[in-house]
């Protein structure tokens, strides 16, 4: 389902710069070796329970309007993930959402996102805000 599409590097650099100035973002890596299509924003750990080792938001955007944004809490047990996607696929609408906590192909539900990717990021951040409120409830005290 890849097809011929080009990474929108210009737009991703804007996304990287803007994510980098959010108070929760510690570092932003632009097209790192392991993920040559992605802008990866790593969050400061202070807002998460100890079990959460690392939190990152990964953005990929293409010149045909496709995108994929993944939110990942790397935990000592299973990671907690959610994923917002726009791309042709055999399982759902072009706009779809892979539900947490696993965000696997099977976890996708149809969705509808704004045309503008910077608006989509706003939708994602609103979900992350909700998650920041819930994350402590999800972590049983040991």
């Amino acid at each position: 389902m890849g097809g011929e599409k080009t990474l929108n590097e210009t737009l991703l650099r804007i996304v990287a710069e803007r994510l980098g100035s959010l108070s929760i973002v510690d570092t932003v890596r632009v097209f790192p070796y392991e993920k040559p299509d992605a802008v990866v924003a790593e969050f400061v750990a202070d807002y998460y329970p100890e079990d959460v080792r690392r939190v990152e938001l990964e953005c990929r955007v293409y010149t045909n309007g496709d995108f994929s944004i993944t939110y990942r809490e790397v935990r000592s047990s299973t990671d907690w993930m959610a994923r917002w996607d726009r791309h042709a696929n055999p399982h759902n609408n072009r706009d779809h959402y892979h539900e947490p906590p696993r965000a696997r192909t099977d976890d996708a539900v149809d969705a509808s996102y704004p045309d503008d990717v910077l608006e989509v990021v706003s939708v994602v951040l609103s979900d992350v805000d909700d998650r920041l409120g819930d994350v402590w409830d999800d972590t049983p005290a040991e």
């Binding site: 890849g2 737009l11 959010l22 929760i24 040559p36 990021v121 805000d129």
Partner: protein, 176 residues
């Protein structure tokens, strides 16, 4: 509110909106222009950029003049992102880099391509059937890897283009 929670939890949605409000008119229209993957009306661009249609039209005409977008139709005017411009600009930026840096980048990209070739046991991404690999990872992840492989190949191609065009100039690049 849970008492264990840090009290100063940020409001990311609000921070993002505040950033948007602080953008200049040019930045707003530019951010929309680089996403015009289908021919789009001025009014739509104006709405997305939150500027007046007159302002949007003025900037789009200017962007068309420098080649960033193309005017695809008139009355109503339809503008579209010009892929050739962005490709040209990427190569120009590479040309301006020191030869040593280009060599390093090329070596790193070539290593990365070898990683993909080993991972998928294939010479090129188009030779891979994603479904055959989806047992080992999510289908989405396999597509993502194949797309990244295509990006690596494109970057290698553009680096080579930049090096060749510099060599054919027969001298060091101007620091553009």
């Amino acid at each position: 509110m849970d008492s264990e929670q840090p009290p100063d939890r940020p409001d990311l949605t609000k921070e993002w909106a505040a950033q948007s409000e602080n953008l200049s008119t040019r930045e707003r229209v530019y951010a929309v222009a680089i996403q015009l993957h289908v021919p789009t009306r001025v009014r739509t661009v104006a709405e997305r950029a939150d500027v007046s249609p007159e302002t949007a039209r003025e900037y789009l005409r200017w962007f068309a003049e420098i080649g960033l977008v193309t005017l695809e139709a008139e009355s109503p005017d339809l503008f579209r992102r010009n892929e050739a411009y962005f490709e040209w600009r990427r190569v120009q930026r590479l040309r301006a880099k020191p030869a040593e840096e280009l060599r390093r980048e090329l070596a790193s990209l070539t290593d990365r391509e070898r990683d993909y070739q080993e991972q998928f046991d294939a010479d090129a991404p188009d030779d891979v059937d994603a479904l055959e690999h989806a047992d080992y990872a999510d289908l989405e992840t396999v597509w993502e890897d194949l797309q990244e492989w295509r990006t690596v190949r494109r970057r290698i191609h553009e680096l080579e283009q930049a090096r060749q065009s510099r060599e054919s100039d027969g001298n060091a690049p101007a620091s553009a």
